[in-house]
């Protein structure tokens, strides 16, 4: 299910699919998972003023990447923000939502990572907090 890209091709996760109906994942019972995202202070402030909804932010990536642990997010934070000025958020979503996200088994020799676009995230994120 969660195959990764080959150059010049797009292989199959559910990422990029039609997101109609994903709102049901906000309320479906079952296991929940947490993902972690490191971001600039400005992106955090953008999230804060938008009611914890993701939005297009300047020229930032149009996909949002997440780590599967706080420690991995911190390691990416040290790469992206060597000055140490960054924020880490934790999102909670139904585990089934991961099937709709793009998945990399090992990114930057740090750990697994998930990516999703803003529209999807705003439909499936149940809780979001600064950690």
């Amino acid at each position: 299910m969660k195959k990764l890209i080959k150059a010049g091709t797009l292989l199959g996760t559910g990422e990029g699919a039609n997101y109609v109906g994903l709102e049901n994942l906000l309320h479906i019972s079952g296991n929940e998972v947490q993902l972690f995202r490191v971001m600039s202070v400005a992106e955090w402030e953008s999230l804060s003023v938008n009611g914890h909804k993701f939005s297009n932010y300047d020229f930032a990536m149009e996909k949002k990447w997440f780590a599967t642990s706080h420690n991995h997010a911190r390691m990416w934070g040290e790469l992206f923000y060597p000055d140490g000025i960054y924020r880490i958020i934790e999102i909670t979503l139904a585990d089934i939502a991961l099937d709709y996200m793009f998945h990399v088994k090992l990114l930057d020799n740090i750990g697994p990572a998930y990516a999703a676009d803003i529209e999807m995230l705003n439909k499936v994120v149940r809780r979001l907090r600064l950690v």
């Binding site: 890209i5 080959k6 150059a7 010049g8 292989l11 149009e62 090992l106 930057d108 676009d117």
Partner: protein
């Protein structure tokens, strides 16, 4: 050892899955970089891309990797690559 190369990049049109905005000169952009013909189902690397010249949907850019232990030996002249956001190709390029 970190290495930076210069590349020509062709940015995909929005209708072909490309970005809505092209990064301005000097702004860091960090997509996934996959070389043409590379088949990695396990490990991928984040690139750093700084546009230095922009002409419509084509740019000249300084390209490197984000991580210190990335495969810098692959950044060789003539190699063609793709830039991804998620699984979406947003650009292709060639190293000078």
């Amino acid at each position: 050892m970190k290495k930076t190369v210069e590349a020509r990049i062709n940015w995909a049109l929005v209708e072909d899955g490309g970005r809505k905005t092209i990064l301005p000169i000097g702004m860091r952009y960090c997509p996934i970089l996959v070389f043409d013909g590379e088949q990695s189902d396990e490990s991928l690397w984040t690139a750093t891309v700084y546009n230095t010249k922009i002409d419509d949907r084509q740019s000249i850019a300084e390209v490197s990797y984000l991580a210190d232990d990335a495969p810098y030996q692959l950044l060789e002249s003539g190699r063609r690559f793709f830039l991804y956001e998620g699984q979406r190709i947003v650009a292709n390029g060639v190293i000078f």
